[in-house]
C-alpha cells in the first residue's frame, strides 16, 4: 500500500498519531495485555505500525470519569494511514474497561522507513505492569514553582479592572 490516500499527503508517506487510553482503575494485567494485543493486531491489519507503548500507571484524574477518581493511563505512538484511526477507536469502544481515549495527529508526511518499530515481547510484558502514580509527585513539585506566576496574574487582573471602572 504505497498509494497516498489523501491529497494532503505525499506519496509513500504515513501519518504519526499519539493515542492515550484511560482504563478503569480496577483493570488487571490481563486486561492490558488483551487490549494491547488486539490493538497491535488491528494496526497490523491496516498496514500501520506501533512505534512505542508506555504505561503511565494508576494516576489521579483531574475529575471523575465513570464514577472513579483514578484511572490507568496507556500511551501509544502509531504510524499509519488515516483509515487506521476510526478502526482503532471502534475497537476501543468495544472494550469495556476503556473509559476514555484520545488520538492526536503528531506529524503528517512521515516516511515509514524512518521510524523504527521499537515494540518487542519484553516491552509488552513491561507495560502490563501497573505502577501507582509516580508522575503525580513530579507535577506537584512543578506546580509549586508556578504558583508565584499565578499570583502575578491575579494582581494584574485586578489592576485592569480598576482601570475599567475609572473610564466609566
Amino acid at each position: 500500500m504505497t498509494l497516498s490516500r489523501s491529497y494532503q499527503d505525499e506519496i509513500g508517506s504515513e501519518r504519526e498519531y499519539e493515542l492515550i487510553v484511560i482504563l478503569k482503575p480496577d483493570s488487571t494485567k490481563e486486561n492490558i495485555q488483551v487490549l494491547t494485543k488486539r490493538l497491535l493486531e488491528m494496526v497490523d491489519k491496516n498496514s500501520g505500525k506501533v512505534l512505542n507503548i508506555e504505561n503511565w500507571g494508576r494516576r489521579n484524574l483531574a475529575y471523575e470519569i465513570a464514577k472513579s477518581k483514578k484511572g490507568i493511563y496507556l500511551y501509544f505512538r502509531l504510524l499509519g494511514y488515516y483509515e487506521l484511526i476510526p478502526e482503532v477507536e471502534r475497537l476501543l469502544r468495544m472494550i469495556e474497561k476503556v473509559v476514555r481515549y484520545q488520538t492526536i495527529l503528531v506529524d503528517e508526511n512521515v516516511d515509514p522507513t524512518a521510524r523504527p518499530d521499537q515494540v518487542d515481547e519484553a516491552m509488552l510484558d513491561a507495560i502490563s505492569e501497573i505502577h501507582t502514580a509516580v508522575y503525580n509527585e513530579e507535577t506537584d513539585e512543578n506546580s509549586e514553582k508556578n504558583s508565584d506566576d499565578d499570583n502575578d496574574f491575579e494582581d494584574e487582573e485586578e489592576a485592569d479592572f480598576e482601570e475599567d471602572e475609572d473610564k466609566e
Binding site: 506546580s143 494584574e156 487582573e157 489592576a159
Partner: protein, 77 residues
C-alpha cells in the same frame, strides 16, 4: 486617561518566546497549570503577556489535557 494607563505595569514578555526550550505539550500539565486560574480557567494573553502564536498552541494544549483528565475543566471548592 491615556497617560495614567501607560503608568500601569511593565511590558510583559511571552514566556515561550523568551525561553525557546520550553515545549508546549498537553502531556505535561505542570507548565500549562501556570497559565490557568485557581478555578481552572485559561488566563487571557492580555494578562499573561503571551504572544498570539503561543497563546493559540497553549489553549489547544490545555483543552487536550482537559479531555484526558490531566487538567480540570473547573475547580469547585
Amino acid at each position: 486617561m491615556r497617560d495614567r494607563k501607560r503608568r500601569y505595569g511593565r511590558k510583559k514578555v511571552c514566556m515561550f518566546c523568551a525561553d525557546k526550550n520550553i515545549v508546549i505539550d498537553y502531556k505535561n500539565p505542570s507548565i500549562l497549570k501556570g497559565f490557568t486560574t485557581d478555578r481552572g480557567k485559561i488566563v487571557p494573553s492580555r494578562i499573561s503577556g503571551n504572544c498570539a502564536k503561543h497563546q493559540r498552541s497553549l489553549t489547544l494544549a490545555i483543552k487536550r489535557a482537559r479531555m484526558v483528565a490531566l487538567m480540570p475543566f473547573t475547580v469547585i471548592d
